[in-house]
Amino acid sequence: MTSRTSPECATTARIELTRASDDEIVARVRPDRADPVFAGHYPGFPLLPGVHIVEYVHRAVLAAAPTVVLAELVYCRFLRAIDLDDELVIKVRRDGELCHGTVTVSDAPAAEVVLRYRNGGD
């Protein structure tokens, strides 16, 4: 029997919140090369999982609004592969329960992510 471990958190990358207001969030993040997930995604060819990009946007929202709970990934489209040395810039426009996120690398679009939240007490 093969032993296995689960990644306990989706990413070890640190999100740097650079701006947060009622209607806009801006953050920066670099993938963490030491993140153990890259040993398995993939051996000999470490590649940032697409779900990590969604997680980065989610973490940026949580940094600005810690009490919200993710209810739905409404939409996500990936536009390019991201290198582990890339810095990602995340811009989120808040519109009620929806957060419209764009992720860019060197000003080039990398992903569009729309998330829906509910309040933690709901």
């Binding site: 989706a10 398995g40 060819f45 470490p46 590649l47 999982p49 697409g50 779900v51 969604v54 996500c76």
Partner: protein, 154 residues
């Protein structure tokens, strides 16, 4: 029907990012039922529940065309997620059951939908996931040059 070793022969994900333990039902080009038991000490993040479901979908799409190594078999990439609704948290020790239905398959691009349940409780619904397989060289040619030279380049 398929256990961990079988799954490792079909898809390139490896621990700690291999998030499917077994497949109990697989009807080619139609549907799959797979499972994953959460370990650790924290709830499984929603995006990793989605990753786990996506890996089950990849088993369905590629069971007849195994791709255990991305350097030779291609890299599975997600293109679009739509209407992924999350329910209650999934806790360590709980086993989730992924139900995947293949709605369309065009060459190396698959369109899938389904849900994840614990018993009779739905903990995630997947409206649509579109995934494809791309040659590794098209994603990161410089890294592959290093790999082919036997050097660690990334």
């Amino acid at each position: 029907m398929l256990d961990g070793d079988d799954i490792r022969r079909l898809i390139p994900h490896r621990p700690p990012m291999l998030l499917v333990d077994r497949v109990s039902e697989l009807v080619p080009r139609r549907h799959l039922v797979g499972s994953y038991t959460v370990t650790g000490s924290h709830p499984l993040p929603p995006v990793l529940l989605l990753e786990s479901w996506g890996q089950a979908a990849l088993v369905l799409i590629r069971h007849d065309r195994p791709m255990p190594d991305v350097l030779t078999g291609g890299v599975p990439v997600a293109g679009v997620f739509e209407e992924i609704r999350f329910g209650r948290p999934v806790w360590p020790g709980e086993t989730v059951e992924h139900r995947v239905r293949l709605t369309r398959l065009l060459a190396d691009t698959g369109f899938v939908e389904g849900e994840t349940v614990i018993g009779s409780e739905v903990v995630m619904r997947v409206g649509r996931l579109v995934g494809a397989v791309r040659p590794a060289a098209t994603l990161r040619p410089a890294a592959l040059a290093g790999v082919s030279d036997g050097k660690e380049s990334t």
